[in-house]
């Protein structure tokens, strides 16, 4: 069992140091993103939350698609567009060997969006309309979605907190919740950084992933605390050692569980469709951090000096 045991008593300070480092890094990311980026938000909000138009469509090419320059296409599209504000804010990406074109613009009506596709077809067509994926979200709905996601997160965090404090005594509940907020903050921070560096945006599925991570992380911590409580009742060993033993005993379970949950998520990342990619990534990240916090961080709070 040697690889599976980790001396918590000795390494308590290292764990706290590591977690503090991660939290600090996340906070820096969040602050930087709020004050020093073009979008001025703690995290790069996607079109789910601010409204806009997203279009992904494939070109029909015989063998290989001829090379096209995104800047040139955008320049030409401007010539067709009626509304200045929109033509100045077109973002265009060409992926998949010049085959897949994705375009982001501010909010368009369906009519304007159709015009955009028609014009795009003239420039780089023929396009395969069978493969079209178009989303238009009005600014009104965006705001509604944002408040909606924020309330969902808050309400379920409160619900989980209530359940935990009812289920455990105060000390355990507090530590489980600390570990939970630690996990959420770090995942949030990572996506703040992703927004700053790679312009990755978060959508409503990101909020869903945070909620799922919350449930998962609390679940993990509860299992370990359960074991600690059980062992403290029975064993005559010294307090710190009992905690250490309980962690060694639950390590296999937490490791296997994270592993078996990660497997389907990784297959989703590899095989799943594009719209689930960042959702799967944030869930995987949350599960990794959640396992770390429940097996190492949360029990460290219980260790007495």
């Amino acid at each position: 069992m040697s690889i599976l045991s980790f001396n918590l008593i000795k390494n308590k300070n290292k764990i706290f140091g590591f977690s503090s480092f991660l939290i600090l890094l996340s906070l820096i990311g969040i602050l930087y993103s709020t004050f020093n980026t073009s979008f001025k938000k703690p995290i790069n909000l996607g079109m789910d939350f601010i409204g806009g138009n997203e279009l992904r469509v494939e070109r029909i090419c015989d063998n290989e698609c001829d090379k096209i320059s995104p800047d040139l296409v955008v320049e030409k599209l401007r010539g067709f567009s009626n509304i200045k504000n929109i033509s100045n804010n077109i973002k265009l990406q060409i992926q998949n060997n010049n085959r897949l074109i994705s375009i982001r613009t501010p909010y368009l009506t369906i009519e304007e969006s159709n015009d955009l596709i028609t014009n795009l077809d003239k420039l780089v067509g023929p396009l395969n309309y069978e493969s079209k994926d178009s989303r238009i979200i009005g600014p009104k709905l965006g705001k509604k979605l944002l408040t909606n996601c924020a309330t969902s997160l808050l309400v379920s965090l409160v619900a989980i907190s209530l359940y935990i404090s009812f289920r455990f005594d105060k000390k355990y509940a507090l530590f489980a919740l600390l570990a939970l907020f630690h996990d959420l903050l770090i995942v949030f921070g990572v996506f703040s950084w992703l927004g700053i560096i790679l312009s990755i945006e978060v959508n409503s599925l990101f909020a869903v992933s945070l909620l799922t991570i919350a449930g998962y992380s609390v679940n993990d911590t509860v299992v370990i605390f359960d074991r600690i409580r059980e062992n403290l009742k029975q064993s005559s060993n010294n307090y710190n050692e009992t905690i250490q033993i309980s962690i060694n005993e639950s390590f296999r379970r937490t490791f296997f569980t994270s592993f078996t949950t990660l497997i389907p998520l990784v297959t989703l990342i590899i095989f799943g469709s594009y719209s689930l990619l960042w959702f799967s990534i944030s869930l995987s990240l949350g599960i990794l951090i959640g396992s770390y916090s429940s097996i190492l961080l949360a029990p460290s709070f219980l260790i007495k000096d």
Binding site: T212, G215, F279
Partner: protein, 487 residues
């Protein structure tokens, strides 16, 4: 032992029933999996909340319009207190649908105020000019500064004529604003009457004989016919015109000949000929047949997914799901031997129960829904891992197999229930508060969590009891990997 056998039969019965359900009631796929358009419609009310009655009234009108759209299997349902979702399977261009649904379609008949003929003539000319400018703007290359300048100058001249200036800077916005202004001015020259779209019993369309334009035919009910006769009688033979106003904009102005001076136009029908294209005439016909909306609506979200992308999404998710399951299964069998085998069987049951419930409830399967299902498999495996780890510990402690299995299930119970409850709480909140997109995820994960409680605590146990009934399967080394590794 007797009770366990009962459970075994019950589980086999459930499995057969699930398969029966799946064969007879196939799963409903969401639009992101089969292609089509989805529109989210938001009711607009400036003061106060939208009441249930208003939502129902809007729903009823839209339902009639949707039925007249002619899209097979279209589906309209309310979402939350003030939204509606319209699904149009297979529809790749929701433009026409959005135009038909988005309009309030309040039809009014108005009579011209006295002594406003010259004013109206001027405005009609200006309306013609602004429409011309807009057409021109739509056709020119927006990088062509000379043309744009020309349009801008013409617009300024027109705005001078009508004494109006728009607060917008953008040329397109200015054009639209000016058009609106002129149209409002025209409407203001007419008096309201008590004849509206409510007095219609039917609407139709036909092509005009003289040119290629279309006209829309209106049939009034008895009362409406009388009102129409009265109104036309009042202005027959004068220079006052009859205006047909749709959503505040006059779409057609016509004079009533002096031959109607005694009786008005009788017969209970009228024609609107306002230079309609075939498409426009059809849209107005559908709107008038459905009646006007009690509250205006706005289309706040439009998703269109191509059919080949939809089937690609299915294949991708299917691969992800199957590979995920195979890897998990291999891992479990490798690690837990017979126990792993049991968990694989109970996971297969789990899959069937889940899918059967989807078709029973029914749950429409979407991409986030599939993600929820795949994630819930993780939760279900977790429960098995918890139990098996406990059983393993009991075995290492030297307990007998049967006793280890019993206390393994008993001792893992509370952790499993806790974990499932916290996840279920999250799902519940998401389902209540979430959007359509999120609801799919919450529904499948939530259902998965509930079923997982049953399969992990009950199915696994029953199957395990069944297997341990055979003497040859009771050897400890079938349950423990290399005992020597563990002290």
């Amino acid at each position: 032992m007797k009770r366990r056998q009962g459970w075994l039969f019950f589980i086999i019965f459930l499995l057969t029933f699930s398969i029966y359900l799946l064969i007879n009631f196939p799963l409903q796929l969401g639009l992101d999996l089969k292609g089509g358009s989805q529109l989210t419609l938001q009711l607009i009310k400036d003061d106060g909340k939208v009441t249930n009655e208003e939502l129902e009234a809007v729903n009823a009108v839209l339902d009639k319009r949707v039925n007249n759209l002619g899209v097979a299997e279209s589906n309209l349902q309310t979402l939350g207190g003030d939204q509606l979702i319209l699904e149009l399977p297979g529809e790749q261009n929701p433009l026409s649908a959005s135009r038909i649904l988005g309009k309030t379609a309040l039809l009014e008949f108005r009579t011209q105020k006295e002594n406003t003929s010259s004013q109206l003539k001027n405005l009609q000319l200006q309306r013609f000019q602004i429409n011309d400018l807009i057409d021109l703007f739509n056709s020119v290359d927006k990088q062509n500064e000379d043309k744009l300048l020309l349009i801008n100058n013409n617009l300024s001249a027109l705005q001078n004529d009508i004494n109006y200036s728009s607060s917008n800077q953008d040329l397109y916005d200015k054009l639209i604003d000016t058009k609106k202004y002129i149209s409002n001015e025209i409407t203001a020259l007419f008096n309201k009457t008590d004849l509206t779209g409510k007095d219609l019993i039917n609407a139709g369309r036909r092509q005009e004989q003289t040119n290629n334009n279309w006209e829309v035919l209106l049939s009034f009910n008895n009362e409406g016919g009388e009102k129409f006769a009265q109104i036309t009688k009042s202005i027959a033979g004068t220079d006052q015109l009859l205006s047909i106003v749709l959503d505040g904009e006059s779409i057609s102005e016509a004079s009533v000949g002096s031959q109607f001076i005694n009786t008005g136009i009788t017969g209970g029908s009228a024609t609107i000929s306002g230079n309609f294209s075939a498409e426009n005439a059809r849209e107005l016909e559908v709107q008038l047949k459905g009646g006007s909306l009690p509250l205006p609506i706005e289309i706040v979200e439009t998703n269109t997914i191509g059919p080949s992308l939809g089937s690609k999404n299915i294949m991708k998710s299917l691969y992800a799901g199957i590979f995920g399951l195979i890897f998990v299964g291999v891992f479990m069998i490798f690690n837990y031997r017979i126990l792993g085998f049991v968990s694989v069987i109970s996971l297969i049951f789990y899959g069937f129960f889940n899918l059967a419930l989807y078709s029973l409830i029914p749950v429409t399967l979407t991409l986030p829904g599939i993600a929820g299902l795949i994630l819930s498999i993780g939760m279900a495996v977790d429960a098995n891992v918890l139990i098996f780890e406990r059983i393993r510990e009991e075995l290492i402690d030297g307990n007998t197999l049967i006793k280890s299995i019993d206390s393994g299930f008993k001792r893992a119970n509370s952790s499993i229930v806790d974990g499932h409850i916290t996840t279920f709480l999250s799902c519940f909140v998401l389902f209540i508060l979430g959007t359509n997109f999120v609801k799919g995820f919450a529904a499948t994960l939530g259902i998965g969590v509930v079923i997982s409680l049953f399969t992990s605590l009950n199915c696994s146990k029953t199957i395990l009891r069944f297997l341990t009934g055979y003497q040859s399967l009771r050897q400890k080394n079938l349950y423990l990997k290399n005992n020597t590794n563990y002290i």
